[in-house]
């Protein structure tokens, strides 16, 4: 009888734990730690393509370098980069000494004439493979390429960048 009550209590404790587990999952935030259970991604600095004057005619590409915040302009238009760009900077916290792949995806801005062509994570592709350090940390920088056309909608636009951390 006593054993039965103990097991009932344990079952209830497990159920409560499960509810708490899901209830306490962090909400997505632009700042602060995300994820849970020890593997997290923290934004140190947001990805900003900066201020761009749209071309009067034609199209320009603007390449934001992941490692140094520089922006190169290409294409046939007369668009101009005014400054204010910064590569995204994120801190990964996970299981020490584990190999991981970090992948980034960016949705297009909801503005005419503004396209995200490429996204770069610590290199020329959107994926980066590394081994977390002994403290379980890794840092990543994110850049990319956007195309701006003459019909680009003037104003400040936002989009979402998704960062996925996968253990190998």
């Amino acid at each position: 009888m006593m054993i039965g009550k103990i097991l009932q209590v344990l079952g209830l404790v497990g159920l409560v734990g499960l509810l708490v587990f899901f209830a306490d999952r962090p909400q997505v935030q632009a700042q602060g730690w995300g994820g849970g259970q020890g593997s997290d991604i923290r934004q140190i600095r947001p990805l900003r393509f900066g201020q761009i004057t749209r071309p009067a005619i034609g199209t320009n590409t603007f390449t934001l370098h992941w490692q140094n915040n520089n922006v190169d302009v290409g294409g046939s238009g007369d668009g101009y980069h005014m400054g204010g760009a910064s590569s995204g900077f994120y801190q990964i916290r996970g299981q020490p000494n584990q190999a991981v792949t970090i992948t980034a995806h960016v949705e297009n801005f909801s503005a005419d004439g503004v396209l995200v062509d490429e996204i770069h994570v610590n290199g020329p592709s959107n994926g980066y493979v590394t081994t977390l350090a002994g403290g379980g940390m890794a840092m990543i920088r994110v850049g990319g390429v956007v195309s701006i056309s003459a019909n680009a909608t003037v104003g400040l636009h936002y989009t979402v960048i998704y960062l996925d951390l996968n253990y190998e």
Partner: protein
């Protein structure tokens, strides 16, 4: 009766064991899934501004000038007022019709810009363009677009007129550019 009670408790205990095991498995499975993958989303931004645009509002015009019969004169079109001032040793005189140039530059608000202007050659003897004046300065002017993204550039210039200038209407090209410094 006591035996029956024991049986009920045993069944409850078994159900509890099964339930607890399922809950524990779910927790472990969830934990394992979280350990293998973390997906997060953050914000990225971009600001699109208008490129610099120039629109002519007033064309530059030195008006009608009576050429000197002897000597030479400088004809200065004031960049701000559009008035004509005549200097030099000749006897040239101003008749009418002069106006300064006025050009609207549009672009990102509060941005610094450089406006550069040049009056080209009239292509005839006796009329030489000495200087193009932008907002009181020779050739170019560092300006700032106002909070509405506008700047109005006023243009004047200086000509030298000599007796061999042919009578009639003469035109020259005018070039104005706006850039970021």
């Amino acid at each position: 009766l006591g035996i029956d009670v024991t049986n009920v408790e045993t069944k409850r205990a078994k159900r509890s064991v099964v339930f607890g095991t399922i809950v524990a498995a779910l927790c472990l499975a969830s934990t394992a899934a979280m350990a293998d993958e973390v997906d997060e989303e953050f914000q990225a931004s971009i600001t699109i501004s208008l490129n610099l645009e120039i629109m002519e509002q007033n064309e530059i015009d030195f008006g009608t000038i009576g050429r000197p019969s002897v000597g030479s004169n400088t004809i200065t079109l004031d960049w701000d007022s559009g008035d004509i001032e005549i200097g030099g040793g000749g006897d040239a005189f101003y008749v009418e019709g002069a106006q300064n140039g006025r050009y609207r530059v549009r672009g990102p608000r509060d941005e610094d810009i450089v406006v550069t202007a040049t009056i080209g050659s009239f292509g005839v003897p006796g009329i030489e363009v000495e200087e193009t004046i932008v907002e009181g300065q020779s050739g170019s002017f560092l300006a700032q677009l106002n909070p509405s993204g506008m700047f109005f550039a006023h243009i004047g210039g200086v000509l030298t007129l000599t007796p061999d200038a042919p009578a009639g209407l003469h035109t020259a090209n005018f070039y104005i550019t706006a850039n970021y410094p």
